[in-house]
């Protein structure tokens, strides 16, 4: 495993262990709802479903179909906020 991957795994472990990962998830969820991202994506999902027909679409199709747009639509401010929060968390918990 490369050093970076090791680092990632260690950070992930720490986040889970402290319950921070769940908190980040909820924070992110709240932020995305607040900025309208969720509604936009929901609308997009509806389009995808309409296009393919309800009978032949799976969650996987949907995920594949909306992921690029979903990623692109996340506002920079939200990303920044999350990054800052992770940094703060790590600074607090590094020994």
């Amino acid at each position: 495993m490369s050093k970076e991957l090791q680092m990632r795994a260690a950070i992930n472990q720490k986040l889970i262990e402290m319950g921070e990962r769940e908190r980040l998830k909820e924070l992110l969820r709240a932020k995305l709802i607040e900025c309208g991202w969720r509604d936009q994506l929901k609308a997009h999902c509806k389009e995808v479903i309409k296009e393919k027909g309800i009978e032949n679409v799976t969650v996987e199709d949907l995920v594949a179909g909306v992921t690029p747009k979903g990623r692109a639509l996340v506002p920079d401010s939200v990303k920044k906020e999350l990054l800052q929060r992770i940094r703060a968390f790590l600074a607090q918990h590094s020994t």
């Binding site: 924070l27 607040e34 509604d39 309800i54 969650v59």
Partner: protein, 565 residues
């Protein structure tokens, strides 16, 4: 006790509010144009949400539509002690409420094939195996071992490899929900619901002041499905039930509630006579948890100041009050001249929620040229059968001498009937010739109204009070109204496609765009001279209450739908 004042022409009667779809989560810039989805609730996440979203994995629910019978493969899993086993999995590896389980999750949650942790890790439900979903490691396992079911360790969804999709099993979802709630309690240390816990966390991060406030006010209010927060009686201050019934309807308009409880109003008025500020105050009173009736004297005073025609202790018309209140609120919303710049495109909360666009097409009978105008509206006033204006027939341009109300034999009139009448083409006759823009002469023409743009919240007003030259009376015809109303047939767009011959009566399950669900009904009892207003309002998702000034009683859906409306 009171009845509406007679005002020339405009007959007022109980207004009925119908709310569109779930409250919008983001009431901001993008609101006009973007129509809300189905009645699932999304909230901005900052409000104490009286309708906690039971299942945040909204997108996944799409699948349930595909496979109405459910997945048949879960039965293989539902043996012996499966419920307990599933609970343990949720407790230890999905929601992980305690420090101990979190530690374990942090250590063990890696793919058993590649050791990675971030490729949508799923766990087999039949044996101890974790695998990446994105890299199909879990798929491989499922195929080799014929272990059909796996659980998403991040969101708790259950995937069936035989169905090749996430599945939705009632029992399993129930367990997932219960365990998630337990985990939140463990982590939050107090018994607030998950959504509230999220809010606190979110607040504590983004707003230190709020956190400070919360520290000083340690009392938390728990919002359950049977709590009565938001319900409060209003004292009658002398024939003010016309105001009380509308205030009840407004305070239970989800979008308005969200707006005011999140403190979005930034007052820019110089004097302290802002009605929007008073509404803010009123919402605080309603959702404060106090049980004694509120005395809305400040509100009444402001109404008297700003809508002089409603002043005094006489009986007034509730519909008139609604329109006056919306108008004053709209004017006070931003008073710094933004409106002056663009009077037709106001972005205030009132216009965002209540304004729709009514399209009026006048067709010249000679050259068939159509002139179209679009006017904003806040409410739709509907004629009733039994009024002196002819109600039926519905055939376009039919002669108007036909008996009133008798063309319809299938029982009671419905709201849809009234809307159909409202949007039918109407022959303007020889006495009302209009100068045609096409052939530049005065010609007979037909006029038709349709909905160009639907408001988020639609108010329907049944014209029960008739004031014509000959008579003044109240029309008591019963008009039935539905809990859910689809406005699609009355849209300008449906008319166009009908004209072009493309109109199909396709039942589009996904298209909830024009669907409304009822959340308030205002009723008038009594006569034109003296009567009383009461209202029904919806609380939570499906509980109804009758508000009769200071008295609030539980009501059944039947009570609501059987009321005159």
């Amino acid at each position: 006790r009171e009845a509406p004042t007679a005002r020339s022409g405009s007959a007022g009667a109980p207004a009925e509010g119908i709310r569109a779809k779930g409250p919008r989560s983001s009431l901001r810039e993008q609101m006009p144009g973007l129509r809300p989805g189905p009645p699932s609730r999304t909230h901005s996440g900052r409000l104490p949400d009286p309708f906690p979203h039971p299942n945040p994995r909204n997108a996944l629910h799409v699948g349930s539509v595909m496979c109405p019978a459910g997945c048949s493969h879960v039965n293989g899993f539902k043996v012996d002690n499966w419920k307990q086993n599933l609970r343990v999995i949720y407790q230890c590896f999905v929601w992980s409420g305690t420090a101990e389980t979190r530690r374990r999750k942090a250590k063990s949650c890696i793919c058993h094939m590649c050791g990675a942790h971030l490729n949508r890790l799923h766990s087999c439900l039949y044996c101890v195996f974790f695998g990446c979903f994105s890299k199909k490691h879990i798929h491989e396992h499922a195929k080799n071992k014929r272990h059909n079911l796996a659980i998403d360790l991040l969101y708790g969804g259950i995937y069936c490899f035989a169905c090749q999709d996430y599945i939705y099993d009632k029992d399993m979802e129930q367990i997932a929900k219960e365990e998630q709630r337990k985990a939140w309690k463990l982590q939050g240390g107090c018994s607030v619901l998950a959504s509230l816990a999220v809010i606190l966390k979110c607040l504590s991060f983004c707003c230190p002041d709020c956190l400070e406030l919360l520290r000083h006010n340690p009392k938390r209010r728990k919002i359950t499905t049977n709590c009565t927060i938001g319900l409060r009686g209003l004292i009658n201050l002398g024939n003010t039930c016309f105001m009380n019934c509308i205030v009840q309807a407004l305070t239970h308009t989800p979008l308005l509630r969200d707006f005011f409880l999140s403190d979005r109003h930034k007052c820019e008025m110089q004097s302290n006579s802002c009605l929007v500020c008073e509404m803010s105050q009123l919402f605080q009173e309603f959702y404060s948890g106090h049980r004694s009736p509120h005395i809305p004297f400040r509100l009444l005073h402001l109404v008297w100041t700003h809508a002089r025609h409603l002043a005094g202790y006489e009986q007034q018309d509730a519909h008139e009050f609604l329109i006056a209140a919306l108008d004053v609120l709209h004017r006070h919303c931003d008073d710094n001249g933004k409106k002056a710049n663009n009077p037709n495109h106001c972005n205030c909360i009132i216009d965002q929620i209540f304004t729709g666009g009514l399209q009026s097409d006048v067709t010249c009978q000679v050259c068939h040229g159509v002139s179209t105008t679009i006017d904003p509206f806040w409410d739709i006033s509907l004629d009733l059968p039994g009024s002196s204006t002819p109600f039926w027939p519905l055939s376009p341009g039919g002669d108007s001498g036909v008996v009133n109300g008798e063309g319809h034999l299938t029982g009671s009139t419905t709201l849809t009937d009234c809307l159909r009448r409202f949007t039918r083409p109407e022959h303007l006759g020889s006495s009302a010739k209009i100068k045609c823009g096409g052939c530049h002469s005065y010609q007979e023409s037909t006029k038709q109204l349709t909905m160009k743009k639907l408001p988020i919240v639609a108010c329907f007003h049944l014209k029960r009070f008739e004031h014509s030259a000959k008579l003044r009376r109240k029309i008591t015809t019963y008009v039935s109204f539905p809990l859910e109303l689809d406005m699609t047939p009355f849209m300008a767009s449906s008319k166009e496609s009908r004209v072009n011959g493309q109109y199909q009566q396709s039942v589009d399950v996904l298209n909830n765009d024009n669907k409304y669900s009822l959340f308030a009904v205002v009723n008038h009892q009594g006569t034109l001279e003296s009567g009383h207003y009461t209202s029904f309002i919806r609380q939570h998702k499906d509980q109804w209450f009758k508000c009769d000034d200071a008295i609030i009683t539980k009501a059944s859906i039947k009570d609501v739908l059987d009321s005159e409306g």
